[in-house]
């Protein structure tokens, strides 16, 4: 008996953090939806009453998970993954359309959002695949399969019209990185983001020139002042800069594409540094110009506006920037200690749209001030680091990979949601884990976290 007690080691610290976050979340939902006319906190007509029910359901799910044998999760990882994919497809076919996206399925009195459940399922599937010893991420085909596991649910969710939830899956690249994917991919990702933002802010010619100058520097450092090589590097670029002035974006993209492929061929064939750098410059240019073109011609108006508001290219506090501006006012007016529970004027006056769901942090920021902000950020940071610590103490690679999946997804949600409420990132409609109002989200995150807690609790029992 004593040996069993010793071997089942539940991490109560994580569970405590979970309860603190959920409790704080409920309080915030209560404050956001409070109305003198409905004093009963169990009132099922109000968000806080419904959220209370969802907390109960989530706790039940957490309890059920603890009853399962952990081997169930490894054995049925693919089944669960497959089942959720089917659910996503079913949502696409039978789903109810709510505010522009078809991501809800009616189950009895409630609406279920399959994409919330897809997160833990994808983590399970990915963990199952990568824990296989043969799945070496240095190998291209394995990269493709791992990428596929992530991309399939992502695409299905994208098809539902819920771009925000789809983007969340990008965060799983951190798991791949941890499991051996080259850091180059991560660097490439970051470069892509930097170029993306600068492409929308700075004229194309400047970006191209900057890249060219940087790479020219690299060339000179490696090869010295070889004028023939420098000329070889600069002349084609000068030609393109000139072309930029006379042709429209689409033509330029085509020209860039053709020259890019042409120089890629030469680079692969000759393996000369100058050609490699030239090709690199060209591909960066294609990307930059491509982003610019896509932004202006492919993205829809409201997407463009959301990005524009964060980048500061659109200053419109009444129209598109209204949400963000009101959110910042609510949070910023909280001061150090906040206005007190139920005392937030912006909160009570419904100035911030989506205040119970995506903008729940506004309520906390306004009513609990900077102190409240610190508590929320502290709890999340602690939870994420704790989850990584749990992951790292596993002998089982399955649990470790799953743990990183949990950390990545929570991190992404936390960063994007918090960032958007204070104007650091574009407004992407994804909830703040454990705090935002919404049953599917709470249930999904609870399952996500408690599977890890279950797996971790039995880390000494089995070796997977």
């Amino acid at each position: 008996m004593s040996s069993t007690t010793k071997k089942i080691d539940t991490d109560w610290l994580t569970i405590l953090t979970y309860f603190l976050l959920v409790g704080l979340g409920w309080l915030a939902v209560y404050a956001a939806d409070y109305n003198h006319a409905y004093p009963n906190i169990y009132d099922l007509d109000r968000n806080y009453g419904k959220q209370m029910v969802w907390i109960g359901i989530s706790l039940l799910a957490a309890l059920v998970i603890q009853v399962f044998d952990t081997r169930f999760f490894t054995a049925f990882a693919y089944v669960i993954y497959g089942a959720i994919l089917l659910l996503l497809v079913a949502t696409l076919i039978f789903g109810a359309e709510i505010s522009g996206s078809k991501s809800w399925i009616r189950i009895g009195p409630a609406n279920l959002q399959a994409s919330e459940l897809a997160k833990f399922a994808t983590c399970l599937g990915l963990a199952r695949y990568l824990s296989n010893k043969k799945a070496d991420l240095e190998i291209f085909s394995n990269q493709m399969i791992a990428g596929g596991i992530i991309l399939i649910p992502m695409l299905l969710i994208l098809l539902q019209g819920d771009a925000g939830s789809a983007i969340v899956f990008v965060s799983l690249i951190l798991v791949l990185y941890r499991e051996g994917l080259s850091g180059g991919f991560l660097a490439l990702g970051i470069l892509a983001i930097v170029l993306f933002i600068s492409s929308l802010l700075v004229p194309f010619t400047y970006i191209m020139s900057t890249i060219a100058v940087l790479l020219l520097g690299a060339l000179i450092i490696r090869k010295g002042l070889d004028f023939k090589q420098i000329a070889l590097f600069i002349l084609p670029l000068a030609g393109l800069v000139a072309a930029n002035m006379y042709v429209d974006s689409l033509t330029l993209l085509i020209i860039l594409g053709i020259t890019g492929v042409f120089f890629l061929g030469i680079a692969l064939f000759t393996k000369r540094l100058v050609m490699v750098l030239l090709t690199l410059t060209l591909f960066c240019s294609i990307y930059s110009k491509g982003v610019d073109y896509a932004f202006n011609n492919i993205l829809k108006e409201h997407h463009r506006n959301r990005i524009g508001v964060v980048l500061g290219t659109i200053e419109d506090k009444r129209g598109v920037g209204y949400n963000l501006n009101q959110s910042k006012i609510a949070i910023g007016s909280g001061g150090v200690y906040g206005k007190g529970l139920l005392q937030g004027t912006q909160n009570k006056g419904d100035f911030v749209p989506e205040q119970s769901t995506d903008f729940i942090f506004c309520t906390i920021g306004e009513e609990f001030g900077f102190v409240g902000s610190c508590v929320v950020i502290g709890l999340f940071l602690f939870l994420m680091l704790r989850v990584i610590a749990l992951a790292e103490r596993q002998k089982s690679s399955f649990t470790r990979i799953y743990g990183y999946g949990v950390a990545s997804i929570i991190f992404f949600h936390f960063a994007i949601n918090m960032g958007m409420t204070i104007g650091l990132v574009p407004v992407i409609g994804i909830p703040l884990p454990f705090l935002s109002y919404g049953g599917s989200s709470l249930l999904g995150f609870t399952i996500l976290l408690f599977i890890l807690i279950k797996l971790d609790s039995e880390r000494l029992l089995y070796l997977r």
């Binding site: 951190l174 990185y177 941890r178 051996g180 850091g183 991560l186 009444r318 009101q326 910042k328 006012i329 609510a330 949070i331 910023g332 007016s333 909280g334 001061g335 150090v336 004027t345 912006q346 009570k348 006056g349 419904d350 100035f351 920021g365 306004e366 001030g369 900077f370 902000s373 610190c374 950020i377 999340f380 940071l381 994420m384 680091l385 990584i388 790292e392 990183y404 950390a407 990545s408 991190f411 960063a415 918090m418 960032g419 204070i422 650091l424």
Partner: protein
């Protein structure tokens, strides 16, 4: 494994660094930067103005003459208006679709237009229409009503004296930004203007918390910074509204002015200009169009003849002429002057007079209104040896008249009263050349003709001063507080003319009514003293004038009446004056004078004038 450990650190660093970035940004927003708190207050806390109720106005007997009536402005928040049933709205508000479109366009073009803020679409919906509309208000999301007050006049009289209120102009807002804001009401004319500061009261405000739809959800900081509105002071007028109403009736269908003053106090009892209008026309929604009609009326009902029309006083000037001639030593009370049907200026020129026995003293001269006598008085006054030339004499005469309020701005509490005109030597120096005129060239001034111009108010004031034997207060329509010693209307004025001269003149004026030119004005037991006048009018029939006061001893009322184009003073002005006096002193008209009253009420002197509206 070393490299994987590094990767763990990379991932952990992402989390820590991003958390720090969030914290840093939040620290800046919540702790360092104050602007969000200000913006939050602008968002959610609205300072609502509480309008004070404008002071009420009573007549001298405490009867309510001006009160406030609730009307409703229809306000819309354009952003909240989703689908609008214009037809139904117009039907409920009893307006045409065109009216709606005009108002809507006007609202959209206004300076402070915003889709998020309340905009006034219709002003001053009357209470009866509002009552019906209110039941359907829920069918018009985004529409609200706000209550305002407009003036209401239970008596339809004294429009010019009361004046009207209207929206304050930008110039005044710029000058008094603390007291007025766009859309506030201000007194524009009459005592509404003069006593604006008392009537206005003090605006209050309360700060309330509103939600995003601008609905009130509570008071801000428990209302500790709120301020109550202080209602305007009520005014007590000196006007007797019944007398005013009666006098207006007598003056109906005539052009002219009537002013009645209580001699002992300077309190104006009635102030009539004819034609008049119902003050209720200039309140409410139709004000603009009604105002246009009044402005374009050929009889100029907006023109306050009692204060602004100048007429030569004619013979009504004679009592004053006698007074100053006596005081100045030009004549004495027993001075007699033979009248041979006129006053001879030269071999060919004579100032005509009517047939009466020659006046052997001042009393008789006034009683018979002898032109020759007063021409001689004036001649003697100017040619008095104490003056070096008639110019100096005329200057002295001018000063005497000024002391009686003629030719100067009388301090009266109704705006825009005119000073009238009393000539000085410089006028004749200009007309005839320096010192190239003689007394006889300006002799008609002595009988109140020529260049003299006085208003009915001045005439009434002059009468009141004579009636009260030189002790007087300046005329006013609002009773000043008794302890307000700074008020000029509380300061007693005393004329420099000896009391005995007044007695002489008053005896003469008594004779006018008992056996002189105005026997029609005689009322048994009232001791009315008066003087008729006929102002020569080169443009048409002469103006009929009469001044009177009663009773002779301890006078209670002094009246001046001017009826345009009505001929002799005894024809209209004297009967009307006597009726007003009788009404005031006896409260009713005696049986034997009812015919006179009916004749005056029925007289229509403007019917033939083809009154029309200038397009």
């Amino acid at each position: 494994m070393e490299s994987l450990n590094f990767r763990r650190i990379v991932i952990q660093s992402f989390m820590v660094i991003f958390s720090c970035v969030l914290l840093g940004r939040l620290f800046f927003m919540q702790v360092m930067d104050n602007q969000y708190a200000v913006m939050a207050k602008n968002n959610a806390v609205e300072k609502r103005t509480i309008y004070p109720s404008r002071g009420l106005i009573m007549d001298r007997n405490g009867r309510l003459v001006v009160n406030n009536e609730a009307v409703y402005d229809l306000v819309m928040i354009p952003r909240q208006v989703k689908s609008l049933d214009t037809t139904k709205l117009c039907e409920l508000l009893a307006i045409s679709k065109q009216d709606f479109e005009d108002s809507y366009e006007k609202m959209r073009q206004s300076k402070g237009y915003s889709r998020r803020l309340p905009q006034v679409l219709f002003k001053q919906i009357p209470a009866n229409i509002y009552a019906k509309f209110q039941e359907y208000l829920y069918q018009f999301p985004g529409f609200y009503t706000q209550v305002r007050a407009v003036r209401n006049y239970p008596y339809r009289n004294a429009a010019h004296t009361l004046g009207y209120i209207g929206e304050v102009s930008q110039q005044i807002i710029d000058k008094n930004p603390e007291s007025y804001r766009m859309g506030d009401y201000i007194g524009i004319s009459g005592i509404e203007k003069t006593y604006e500061n008392q009537l206005r009261g003090e605006k209050g405000y309360k700060e309330i918390i509103v939600d995003v739809h601008n609905r009130e959800i509570g008071s801000y900081m428990d209302g500790q910074f709120d301020k109550d509105a202080v209602g305007g002071q009520n005014l007590q007028m000196t006007i007797d509204i019944d007398l005013q109403s009666y006098a207006e009736e007598l003056m109906q269908n005539k052009k002219g002015g009537l002013v009645a003053i209580e001699p002992a106090t300077g309190e104006i009892l009635a102030l009539v200009t004819a034609p008049a209008y119902d003050p209720n026309l200039l309140t409410g929604r139709k004000r603009g169009s009604e105002m246009e009609l009044l402005k374009r009326d050929t009889l100029k009902p907006l023109f306050n003849r009692a204060l602004m029309a100048k007429y030569p006083p004619g013979s009504t000037f004679k009592p004053l002429m006698a007074l100053i001639a006596l005081e100045d030593g030009a004549i004495h009370a027993g001075f007699g002057y033979g009248c041979a049907g006129g006053y001879r200026l030269s071999a060919s020129k004579t100032v005509g007079c009517h047939g009466h026995s020659s006046a052997y003293n001042v009393k008789e001269a006034i009683k018979h209104s002898c032109n020759a006598y007063f021409c001689q008085c004036f001649y003697l006054f100017l040619e008095n040896r104490k003056y070096k030339d008639p110019g100096e004499g005329l200057t002295s005469w001018h000063d005497y008249l000024n002391a009686f309020g003629l030719g100067v701005d009388l301090p009266v509490d109704i705006p825009n009263a005119l000073a009238g005109y009393v000539p000085r030597p410089d006028l004749y120096n200009r007309m005839y050349g320096e010192n190239r005129w003689r007394s006889k060239m300006i002799i008609s001034l002595g009988i109140g003709q020529g260049e003299l111009g006085v208003t009915p108010l001045q005439l009434a004031h002059m009468t009141a001063v004579i009636a009260n034997k030189g002790e007087f207060y300046f005329p006013h329509v609002v009773r000043p507080a008794k302890d307000d010693t700074a008020s000029i209307f509380n300061q007693k004025q005393i004329s420099s003319i000896a009391k005995r001269h007044y007695k002489t003149v008053i005896d003469g004026m008594e004779g006018v009514v008992t056996g002189g030119t105005a026997r029609v004005a005689k009322v048994e037991g009232l001791d009315i003293c008066g003087k008729t006048g006929t102002a020569e009018n080169p443009h048409g029939e002469d103006h009929s004038l009469f001044i009177a006061f009663a009773p002779k001893n301890n006078p209670k009322i002094a009246v001046a009446v001017m009826v345009e184009n009505a001929g002799f003073g005894s024809r209209y002005a004297a009967p009307i004056s006597s009726l007003v006096i009788e009404k005031y002193l006896n409260k009713e008209i005696s049986e034997e004078r009812k015919f006179l009253e009916k004749k005056m009420l029925d007289a229509d002197l403007v019917g033939h004038l083809k009154r029309y509206t200038i397009p």
